[in-house]
């Protein structure tokens, strides 16, 4: 308070004098400005005796022990530091994931059943709740143009990105935002004959099209997924209902 010069003092007093009677102004000035109490530790509790302090310490220790017993998920920083979810350098081999890819193909054919030949809304609903670890993916369209053309097997399907291992044994992390991914599933038995009608854009997340290249080659089901609408963890996606969303970016 003494740091303020006489001039400032008079400014505060002058302003108060404008609004109050001189006695009031004087009282307010001395009580609330000049002799205002400055609390050093305003929220500290009143000084307690040693017994209360010891009791508090014991309570705190008990709480911490209880908390440590309860299992908590790792935070993002802890995960990154521990490196538990990284694929090690020796493990970034395309050949290692090919059996997984074949398993995934079998799994998808099993889910889709007959709809692998027809496509449409039913297939789209099943595909959105499917798991994509081990899927063969190609980035087809992206707001960041350097991602286009990345092709490989999905190693990790996290909430916002796909981890893809390419044929050249590199691991690429491709964010889902603003990116369109294409998946191809060859149907095992080459059924000649009727080719199903074109794609229906079902539920905004997946568009499914069956493709028949030649009559002697097996059919391929090709579908594209808009990453913008797909930003959920694979576990959360299982029961999620997808609705059509108008996309500003398309």
């Amino acid at each position: 308070m003494e740091a303020k010069g006489k001039k400032d003092q008079s400014v505060a007093a002058a302003l108060l004098a404008r609004a109050h009677t001189p006695d009031e102004a004087n009282r307010i000035f001395t009580e609330k400005i000049q002799h205002r109490p400055l609390f050093l530790t305003p929220s500290s509790p009143p000084p307690s005796d040693a017994r209360a302090a010891r009791q508090r310490e014991r309570e705190k220790k008990k709480q911490q022990r209880k908390k440590a017993l309860k299992p908590k998920p790792l935070s993002a920083a802890q995960r990154r530091k521990l490196g538990l979810y990284d694929v090690p350098r020796e493990g970034q081999k395309y050949a290692l994931f090919e059996p997984l890819h074949n398993l995934w193909l079998g799994y998808i054919r099993e889910i889709l059943g007959g709809e692998i030949y027809t496509g449409g809304e039913g297939a789209a609903a099943k595909l959105t709740s499917a798991d994509y670890h081990g899927a063969g993916v190609e980035v087809v369209r992206s707001g960041c143009v350097s991602r286009v053309g990345i092709k490989g097997i999905v190693v990790k399907d996290s909430k916002f990105a796909f981890d893809i291992v390419t044929k050249k044994n590199t691991l690429k992390l491709v964010p889902k935002e603003g990116t369109v991914f294409r998946f191809e599933v060859p149907a095992v038995d080459a059924r000649g004959g009727s080719r199903a009608p074109g794609a229906e854009d079902a539920k905004g997340a997946a568009a499914a099209t069956p493709e028949q290249h030649e009559t002697d080659r097996p059919q391929n089901m090709v579908f594209e997924i808009h990453g913008d609408q797909f930003q959920f963890r694979s576990a959360d996606r299982a029961n999620k209902k997808f609705r059509v969303h108008f996309s500003k970016k398309l």
Partner: protein, 357 residues
Amino acid sequence: MLSLPTPSLYQASKCFVTHGVMSHLDPNQPPSKSKPWSTLTSQDFVNRADLIVPQEAYDAIHAKLVEGRRAPEFKRVVMSLHDILTSEFFVEYIKKGDILMLSEGRRDIDNVFSLESGILALFLDKEAYERAGLVGKPHGVKGRRGLKPRWIVQLDLTNPSMSRGHKGFDRLVYASKNALNASTVWLFCNMASTTPDPDPLSQHFPSGYTCNPRVMRDVSVIIPPLNPQLDSTILGPIEDFESFATEIYEWLSLVRLQSPRIQLGDQIDPYLCRYQIPGPSEQGSKICKISWQGFISPSWAREILVDVISALPSKTWFSFSTTTFSKGMAGDNSECTILRPPGSPGEYIMWEVKAHE
């Protein structure tokens, strides 16, 4: 969802007038850096070229230009970008030769590709750009890009790193197979003097065209005074030159359009047309006009100008103008018109009309 029509920005073309003196012309070393020549070569593809000379000079011009020179040829072919980048076409024409190519469409609306002096320029809309995967720059008026931005991708194909096996070229080939795989109509012009022997273009069955010059002789018109009078005391010198330039450009354009208004003895009701030829002269003289139309390279236009200057006597006036293909949605084209006034050998006036795009 209501979609309001996207506002389009139209900016009118601008005309720049230059009045200068040409340096002495050495036919062995055609100039390229100074003013009328650099403007001619800076145009990208020439669609139309017109030459207006007085009738007395016609014989000299005819001998040199029409008979002495081969008419420019161009071809129209249906190809896809993938065909251009692979096979013998790429090696023979692009790496070893010198060609000009332009694909069909308008740059603000369709995906247009152009190839000029080895630089491939792709004008793409948002979806094609995102699917192609090639790095490009934003194209179009900055403030109006909004929800539908357009992009331009420029690649130098004569670079030695643009060959099979290199990453940049492989990305371009991938794009041409997936996103840009439509086959479009192209105009093709081979600027080199020789064509490779098993012509790689023939497998796409091109149709060839020759831009034969069309001659209009003995046209009696009234010619306005073509010399700029710079020492007038009535108006200030700048306004005087501006009005002179505008009137002469108007007259030259009417000659190119073959308008009856400038012809001798034209009687039109002034209610229908109020155009009057500037200047006091009422006598007619004869002029002739030679025009070429097609897909022409700007270096050919420069050669024609060199020939004209060397063929004509130095006091004769002439006017040479070239028009390019239109680029944007508004369909305006850029143009370059050069006039040499009578009686002054090196002097020239150049009108350069630049479209907004």
